[in-house]
Structure formats: structure tokens, C-alpha cells
Assembly symmetry: C2
Homo-oligomer: 197 residues x 2
DNA sequence: TATACTTCCTAACGCTCGTTAGCCAAAAAA
DNA sequence: TTTTTTGGCTAACGAGCGTTAGGAAGTATA
């Protein structure tokens, strides 16, 4: 009988702790014994809650993918709004996901390659779909004369690149709130795309 | 007696092959036996040429750091030139290093954390110095009114982030030459910073 | 020709890995 | 109260890890 009700299920605790370790050391360099120790358990005990090490990685990667898609969908729901507005909202949604759980984001961005097939291919397909969504939005902006850029694919790549660098330097206790960061990034990145700044 | 003289020393061959594997699988997930097989050797034979697995990683990471600094130094040698020109040249130099050996670049960007101390700390200090160099250049541009940005640190971070995403998608056999890529990236990234485009 | 060096081999070292089997005590459900 | 479920434990499995020792064969040097 725990003195206080656990705020999270054991499985969720394992996911959280594993995510932090995967981020810090990388998936391959994180051992189940390390993970167990961090949780005050023995290694074997983990398997009462999970099926395998990779299952954790799978959950983290695909869970975050879902969040990114949900954010993008919400940001572009109002199809009649100016493309620039939709793009700004999509950027802010992306940043919100990144900052809400930067450890999981870092794992999502860097550790997916340790997924075995077919999960790895599925994951890459999702990532590609997401990138295409941004590219398409930018292309619409170009076609309607709202944005200017030499190349939509190029613009989408550099835009996502700038955003995805965030987990590398973001600190939750920094002096910028996630919303401020999102706003600044949107301003800066759209600055190069908009006609009238 | 090899039928043709080896274009590279065995050690250099090992470094090259290891770099490709480190990039594809990650440092921790690459075994010395895999590396040896790739070279047509047995695992033990590698140690006639190298001291340890980490030594390879060390050489790759610090070798590339040197190249980045040399490129930046050359790009900003003419101190009297406009800051925008220096910045453009620094961007192009950075891209040139990235494209000249994108495998080594990917390792430089992602696998450095598997360096053990004190190399890891030394590496991070170098990386920080490089980032500061860009930030300082941008700051000079702001001070002289040549550039505009809400925050020099922010601008430097997003700039390097956009550039460093390159090894993730660059293909040497793509339809853009490294110089074209460098030029486009410089245009696009300076577009958001310059007053008159 | 004798010597040293280079570059590979085989075999093995101690160690850590992810995972499983079997067991046990406490808690929950019946 | 009996039964089932939950969530731990210990011990061990087979496999793979980085690395080393010792030796063999070819090449270069003296």
C-alpha cells in the first residue's frame, strides 16, 4: 500500500525515466539495469510492465508523432485563414510539443533509427508526411503570393531544422516561456518568408 | 603486395568506414566486429592500427572541429569587409565542410556525446566557441546597423540549426552542387536578417 | 642473409547485455 | 476466508561486447 497514490502508472514512470536516459546516453548505450536502478528496481522487474526495451522507444516515437500531427491539424483547421497565419500557428504548435516534453522530443528526433523494421520504415513515412504538410502549406503561400522563397522544399527543410534544434538548447527553467520562444521563432523564421515585415 | 597501391593508409580506411557505420547505426550500436567485416578483416586485427574504438570517434570529432574553425577563420579574415559578406562566406564555408564529408559531419553533430571525459567537455567547449564566433559576428552586424534581428543569440542558434540539418538530407549525387546549396542557404538565411533584400 | 617491421590471424579474456523462469508477499477480489 | 492479481525478487540463460596475447607470413631494411 503506497502512502500516497502514485500519480502515474508504473509503466508511465518507466517510459518517462527511459526517455530521459535515452536522451542523455542514447538508446543503445542505455541498459535496462541502469533504467531499473533509476527507478529503484531490479532489471528483471521491468518486464512485469513492458514487453521489451524497444517497445518503450516505439511508444515514445509514435506517441510524439501523433502529437505533432494533432498540433498541425489544429493550427491549419481554419482553411480560409491566410496561409501566413496558418503557418505561424503551425510553427507555434510544433514548438509547443517540443517544449512540453523536450526529452521525448530529442528521442523522437534522434533515436528513431534504433527502431527495427517495420517500425522504422513506418516512422520515416510519418516524418515524411509531416514534412510534406509543411511544404504544401508553404507552396500554397507561394502560389497565392503571400510568401516568397526560392524553393518551397528548401524553405520547409530549413524551417523545420531551426525548430528541431530547440530541444538541444531549451531549458524549462530558462528565462523565456515556451510561448515566448514559439512567438520569437515564428517571427524570425517568417521574417525571411514574408513580403512585408 | 596489393595489385594497386592503396590510395589511403589502413588507418584512414578504418576511420572512413567507421565513420559511415557510426553515422548509420550510431557509435554505441556499431561493433568492432561489424567494422572489421566491412573492411574484410577480423576484429582483433583492427588493433594493429588503432588504440581503441573511442580513439576513432575522437579523431573524427576533433578533426572536423578543426575544419570548421579553419573555414570560419578564412571566411572572416578580411576584417574590413561588410559583416554581411563575412557572414555569407562563413555560412558557405560551413556548408562546404558539411558537404565535403557528410558522414563525418553527422558523427560530429550527433555522436560526440559518446566521448568520455575529459574529451567530451573539451569538445563541447570547442562547439561553444564556434557558436560564439557566429553570434559575435551577428552582433557586430547589428551594432553597425547592417543586420536586424530581435536577438543575436537566437539568430545564431537558428542559423546554425538550419545549416546543421543539412547532413540529414544532403546526397552527394543530388541535383544541387555543394556550392549551389551553400549559396541558396546563405541567401535564404540572410534574407531574414538583412534590411534590403 | 639476418633483422625488424607491418599486418594479419586465431583464440580467448572478463564483462555486460536483454530477457526469462520461478518464486514470494502483499493487495484486491470473490 | 479463499482465490486471484499485482509487482516485486533472485538467479541465470546465451549472446555479444571491446580488447589482448601470441604467433605467422610477407615486406622492407641492414
Amino acid at each position: 500500500m503506497p502512502t500516497v497514490a502514485p500519480q502515474r502508472s508504473r509503466k508511465a514512470q518507466i517510459d518517462r525515466t527511459a526517455t530521459a536516459l535515452f536522451r542523455a546516453r542514447g538508446f543503445a548505450a542505455t541498459s535496462m539495469r541502469e533504467l531499473a536502478t533509476e527507478l529503484g528496481l531490479e532489471a528483471g522487474s521491468l518486464y512485469s510492465h513492458i514487453k521489451s526495451k524497444e517497445e518503450i522507444l516505439h511508444r515514445v516515437c509514435f506517441g510524439l508523432a501523433e502529437e505533432f500531427f494533432a498540433g498541425f491539424a489544429a493550427a491549419t483547421a481554419q482553411n480560409s485563414a491566410p496561409v501566413a497565419t496558418q503557418l505561424r500557428q503551425a510553427i507555434e504548435a510544433h514548438v509547443r510539443v517540443l517544449t512540453r516534453d523536450s526529452a521525448a522530443s530529442a528521442v523522437f528526433l534522434h533515436e528513431w533509427r534504433h527502431l527495427s523494421e517495420p517500425a522504422r520504415t513506418e516512422f520515416l513515412a510519418l516524418r515524411d508526411r509531416y514534412e510534406v504538410a509543411f511544404r504544401t502549406l508553404i507552396q500554397r503561400g507561394l502560389a497565392q503570393g503571400e510568401l516568397h522563397a526560392p524553393d518551397a522544399a528548401f524553405a520547409a527543410l530549413t524551417l523545420l531544422a531551426s525548430l528541431n534544434w530547440l530541444p538541444a538548447w531549451y531549458r524549462p527553467d530558462g528565462n523565456l516561456t515556451p510561448d515566448e520562444i514559439a512567438h520569437r521563432l515564428a517571427e524570425q523564421l517568417l521574417g525571411g518568408l514574408l513580403f512585408n515585415e
